[in-house]
């Protein structure tokens, strides 16, 4: 039968040791006794204990000093200090040194049973908590930000630099560049990552609703406020708040938000009682805030508060080199969710994606790949799968080189990637074809790559 826990009883009086030994064994604990501080430390070296019951008055090293040494050896072991001479001073000294509890001899049986039971339950709950956090941390990874371009490497470096700090971060970038993903990565890299990341899409809410979302409200604060509600800053206690599209909020809410960032306290709508809040602020916008400031539509002081550390996310058209690995990432993602065995993107299809300007950035690319995978025949996505819904950028200049490249890739696709055969069809030698493909940055996307 498993014991309720391993106890170490340290007392210089034999009769006390024997009494506690027998009584706790009857209670179902595994008990080890020690007659002195030295004896206790020796026994700790040989065995791990959940809890030590330590007499405060012993010859040589007393209980408070022993407790300090015990914590050095095993910080997780809890200590209950026992005394025959209860005094406030010794109790305070013991508890200040980290004792879990302080009990006077003789003990009331119910009190000591509960104290030991509670201490061990507390320790096990803490251990379980740590284990679960480790499990969650290993299982739940923040969504991957994909990219190898120099612009994205700079973004990754910025996230790694600012993530572990408590600095307010302003993420800028066009719509669809991955601002929320970036915010999640910053939160994940921070010591706050075990606490919530609360996301508020400021642009999606009317002014009064946004106020209620951010600051909470009291019951009856407005029509429909049937219950007291915590605001995002309260919900995020100890974590982060991500204010998406912060450029869309009204001047009045900007004033309230500025006060929250300065004072670190909120007042619920309908209340006059301020509440202290602990959060890290991450904001994002696709607007040019300096322009909004010039137009008087954004408070400069709020901008300075938010713009402590800025991360600029590049548009996809400025990092087209990342398109193949982004496509690979999305194909893998949707293959799993759609249960389709797509493992290739034809060279002409990839060339098409490369030519497109992607005004909607990565989000548009993701949607395009998803749509293409719906219509694609296994195992390959072809140019036509995109052409159905994905228009080329209008007025795209079509140079002779563009035409040559498109023709070469089309022939290569018809030859199923066989360069020797394609060179014969094109009536050029294989080395020339190879050089042209290299010049166009063509890269075979195959099952291996995907």
């Amino acid at each position: 039968m498993a014991t309720k826990g391993n106890l170490l009883v340290v007392d210089d009086e034999l009769i006390v040791r024997d009494s506690l030994d027998k009584w706790f064994r009857e209670e179902g604990y595994d008990v080890t006794v020690a007659e002195s501080a030295q004896d206790a430390l020796t026994k700790m070296a040989a065995k791990r204990f959940d809890l030590a019951l330590v007499d405060i008055k012993m010859p040589g090293t007393d209980g408070v000093e022993l407790q300090r040494r015990m914590r050095e050896i095993d910080p997780e072991m809890l200590v209950i200090i026992m005394t025959g001479y209860a005094s406030v001073d010794t109790a305070v000294a013991a508890l200040k040194n980290g004792a879990y509890d302080y009990v006077s001899k003789p003990f009331d049986p119910d009190d000591i049973a509960h104290s030991v039971h509670n201490a061990i339950s507390h320790k096990r709950a803490e251990q379980e908590n740590v284990r679960l956090r480790e499990t969650v941390a290993s299982v739940v990874r923040p969504q991957e930000i994909v990219g190898q371009s120099a612009a994205m490497v700079r973004v990754f470096e910025a996230i790694q630099t600012v993530g572990p700090t408590d600095a307010t971060v302003l993420i800028t970038g066009e719509s669809g560049t991955g601002k929320e993903l970036c915010a999640r990565a910053i939160h994940a890299a921070s010591p706050r990552h075990y606490n919530p990341l609360v996301v508020i899409h400021c642009g999606a809410l009317a002014e009064t609703l946004l106020e209620s979302e951010l600051f909470g409200h009291e019951k009856g604060a407005f029509t429909g406020a049937q219950y007291r509600k915590k605001g995002s800053f309260e919900v995020a206690e100890g974590g982060s708040v991500f204010l998406d599209e912060v450029g869309d909020i009204s001047l009045k809410t900007q004033t309230d938000l500025l006060r929250v960032l300065q004072e670190r306290e909120i007042t619920r709508v309908g209340s006059t009682h301020p509440i202290q809040v602990d959060f890290r602020c991450i904001a994002a916008t696709n607007k040019k805030l300096d322009q909004l400031i010039e137009e008087g539509r954004f408070r400069p002081d709020l901008f300075y508060r938010l713009n402590v550390f800025q991360i600029q996310l590049p548009a996809l058209r400025d990092r087209k080199g990342d398109i193949p690995i982004l496509v690979e990432h999305f194909v893998r993602k949707f293959s799993a969710s759609m249960n389709k065995r797509i493992n290739r993107v034809s060279p002409t299809a990839m060339a098409l994606l490369d030519r497109y300007q992607w005004p909607g950035n990565v989000r548009e690319l993701e949607n395009a790949v998803e749509r293409a995978m719906v219509v694609a025949q296994e195992p390959e996505i072809r140019e036509g799968d995109f052409a159905l819904r994905l228009p080329l950028a209008e007025n795209q200049p079509r140079t002779l080189e563009d035409i040559e490249r498109a023709h070469i890739l089309a022939v290569l696709e018809d030859c199923k990637g066989n360069q020797t055969l394609a060179a014969e069809v094109l009536d050029i030698d294989r080395v020339t074809l190879h050089n042209k493909l290299k010049k166009y940055g063509w890269k075979r996307v195959t099952a291996d790559a995907l």
């Binding site: 039968m1 009769i15 006390v16 009494s19 506690l20 027998k22 009584w23 064994r25 009857e26 209670e27 179902g28 001899k105 003789p106 003990f107 009331d108 049986p109 119910d110 000591i112 049973a113």
Partner: protein, 191 residues
């Protein structure tokens, strides 16, 4: 009681009164133990109040010293000697105990002192006191069979540090404790 049938670790329980005990109390206890353990139970001639175990400072009686005195009687391994006393018992580290037993062994002692309603300023209830005494007697005899405390609050081996806990439990072992009795008992070896 099954404990008596499963390997029969016990074949006789002796009740040894220390100090005055009502005949009705002892006979009720004997009947209850015979029912629970399915073995004969006999009442020995009473001993005087255990003055040898009295602690002047605490105004209580040391259960450990009473047990030590009982051990001198050399009770056979398959017998159990249960001391029954109206005096208030203690062990050095606790303010009081309802009883104490060898874990495992042949001797145990229980006190009726804190089992009466009068102790708590309530009207007397002899029947409730008899029930509590039987539960504590089964509990301490369970310790002599090497049973430790049980998490089943209805089991006789559930810890009871106050009478309210005693009232919650029954005088019988739970299924788990019942199965542990024969294997845990040291009483397989005959004297």
């Amino acid at each position: 009681m099954e404990a008596g049938h499963c390997g029969r670790p016990v074949n006789l329980v002796q009740l040894l009164p220390f100090g005055p005990a009502a005949a009705e109390t002892l006979s009720e206890l004997r009947a209850g133990l015979e029912r629970e353990f399915a073995v004969p139970c006999e009442i020995l001639p009473p001993e005087p109040e255990p003055a040898f175990a009295f602690n002047l400072t605490r105004q209580q009686y040391s259960s450990t010293e009473i047990l030590a005195a009982m051990l001198k009687r050399n009770t056979p391994a398959k017998w159990r000697l249960l001391g029954v006393t109206p005096v208030d018992l203690y062990i050095p580290i606790l303010t009081f105990v309802f009883g104490e037993a060898q874990l495992p062994g042949t001797c145990a002692v229980v006190s009726s002192h804190r089992l009466s309603q009068e102790f708590y300023g309530l009207p007397a209830d002899p029947r409730l006191q008899h029930e509590r005494l039987l539960k504590e007697a089964v509990h301490e005899l369970g310790h002599t069979l090497n049973l430790s405390h049980c998490e089943d609050y209805q089991c006789a081996m559930a810890p009871s540090h106050g009478v309210e806990w005693i009232d919650l439990k029954t005088s019988s072992f739970c299924g788990t404790c019942r199965t542990l009795v024969p294997t845990r008992s040291i009483l397989n070896a005959s004297r």
